[in-house]
Amino acid sequence: MRRAFALVFLAFLLTLPLWLQDPYLLHILITTGIFTIAAMSLNLLLGYTGQLSLGHVAFFGIGAYVSALTTLGFDVDIGPWTFVHEPWPVMAGFVLAVLISGLCGYLIGKLSFRVRGAYFVIVTISFAEVVRLVALNWVDLTQGPLALNNIPAFALSVPGLGEHTLWGKVPNYYLVLAVAVAAYILIKRLVGSRIGRAMVALKENESLAVSVGIDVTRYLVLAAIISAALAGAAGSLYAHYVKIIDPEIFLFIYTVTMVIMVVAGGKGTLAGPVVGGLIFGTLPVLLRSYLGPEFQWIFYGLFMIFIVFVLPQGIVPAVEQRLFPSTREPPPEALATVEPAKGEPQ
């Protein structure tokens, strides 16, 4: 049933550019898609391990800068040495963005998971702020507030077919959709495995999780790495789509937007950040057609408060309870052979 929903929804997204010709709406959908990927990555930490990363945009921004700099090239002086980097293809930028963001996730995770809860929140906020200040002040590398311009568009090199640069909106739409689907599948596999169970166990009752042999640090750091790497992938997509990035990308409001997407959609559910991302990514634009600018944001704020009050668990869990009232996972078919009615074991 849920699978059917997901497939119909995917088919809808796949056919969307065929009948939605408005380039502005397509643009909104692309940026919404990019933020939805970031929200999915945040959900892995916030929803499954229960750790609130309020500096999540740092990983997104690092991905964007790494990808942009890799493809633009740079030369910087550090002390007596000069580093010169020639421009590389965009695919390399994307891969490096994922790797370096993941590495940052590892470092932040290692540093801050010794002390969790509020301390993790503080460390992540500070990290985002430090990275923003570096981006702002290391003018040699990042151009500072002047922004990195002329970032090349995403180019896919397909063996045998040569290189294709994604200039228009439609190819970029499909690229973002493809990455989003890949991220969704990765997260789905992860949370459905013993790794995901370990993460949920740590969130629910750490002492108990530890007592059955789950290594806390290992799984929290793993979640931080994968979460940061996915956010970095989203950042790379963003850089090559909008083609200009400046230190404002690290602003706190972007993290807040991601948190809203996750919490409103339903944290700890696979569909939550997707639903939340689509609603809160497109809502400002939809409102623009009906309300004056002053009322748009008032309505946006009221809607958020409404959701938090009426559906504290988020939209997806609420809808699921409505649609499948007594949802209990049915025993997998394979288990039917293992669990025949043998009567009481006594």
């Binding site: 949920v200 629910e204 002492s207 007592s211 059955v212 789950i214 209990r328």
Partner: protein, 265 residues
């Protein structure tokens, strides 16, 4: 029962101080493979502290704990579990928001064979490993008698059944030795009787048991040997019948416990 061989678990001159407070003064005992050892004592005698030290949740101020001749000093709790020394908790002993079978699957964590890459790529080993874990989970649920509640949320179960989930979780972690912290506290008579049967089954699997319990008839009934703690010190050690006659124990503990004995009988 006791012999000359090295005990499975050795607690050697362990002391635990919290600031100026002495929770355990100097504790020495061994648990032999295959036995059920009861650890009793009045509230505040240091029983739970002893559990926490043995399982790595607390560092001893002095002394050493050895399991299978390996020193546990400095090991983290999950590493102690990996050696086969698994505990349960007095309270908060289940993952409330998970189903019963989900709880056992969490407990089976260490038995999964799939690597991160298997999982992310959805390789065959992931599917196979998950299948094995599910089968194992069902056999544990059958052992503790909870297979009918498998798909209920753990928090929806009656108290006695939740305690069983806690034991199922611990069993899933493949213990050589199980430490049970007041497993029947809060259970009614029939739940306690059912639990004693389960203890027998666990024993048959060759699992050694260290039991902390306030329910005197229960401890006296299932234990091969009893250790009595009072104010952080061991004041008596021996078979149940002997302990019940020990004047020092009666003074320290059974004096007010006698009423319980009467109550349960």
């Amino acid at each position: 029962m006791t012999g000359t061989r090295e005990p499975l678990l050795t607690v050697e001159h362990v002391a635990v101080h919290f600031g100026g407070l002495v929770a355990i003064a100097d504790m020495n005992f061994g648990v032999h493979s295959g036995e059920v050892l009861g650890l009793i004592g009045p509230n505040g005698a240091g029983k739970t502290t002893a559990f926490n030290v043995i399982t790595g949740f607390l560092r001893p101020t002095k002394g050493e704990v050895r399991f299978k001749e390996v020193s546990l000093n400095g090991l983290k709790p999950h590493q102690v579990t990996s050696l086969g020394l698994v505990r349960t908790f007095q309270r908060t002993s289940v993952f409330q928001d998970n189903t019963v079978v989900g709880n056992v699957l969490i407990g089976l964590h260490r038995r999964g064979r799939a690597t991160l890459l298997d999982t992310l790529l959805g390789l065959q080993r992931e599917t196979e490993s998950e299948q094995e874990l599910k089968e194992e989970a069902w056999s544990i649920l059958r052992l503790v008698g909870l297979e009918r509640r498998a798909f209920d949320l753990a928090s929806a179960l009656p108290y006695g059944d939740q305690r069983l989930v806690g034991v199922a979780l611990a069993l899933a972690a493949q213990p050589t030795m199980l430490l049970l912290d007041e497993p029947v506290s809060g259970m009614n008579a029939s739940e306690t009787a059912r639990f004693i049967k389960l203890l027998g089954l666990i024993r048959e699997q060759g699992i050694t048991i260290l039991l902390v319990e306030h329910d005197m008839p229960m401890v006296m009934g299932v234990s091969d040997r009893i250790i009595v703690l009072n104010y952080g010190r061991i004041i008596a050690e021996g078979p149940p019948a002997e302990i019940q006659r020990n004047p020092e124990v009666i003074a320290a503990y059974l004096g007010h416990g006698a009423r319980r004995v009467h109550h349960h009988a």
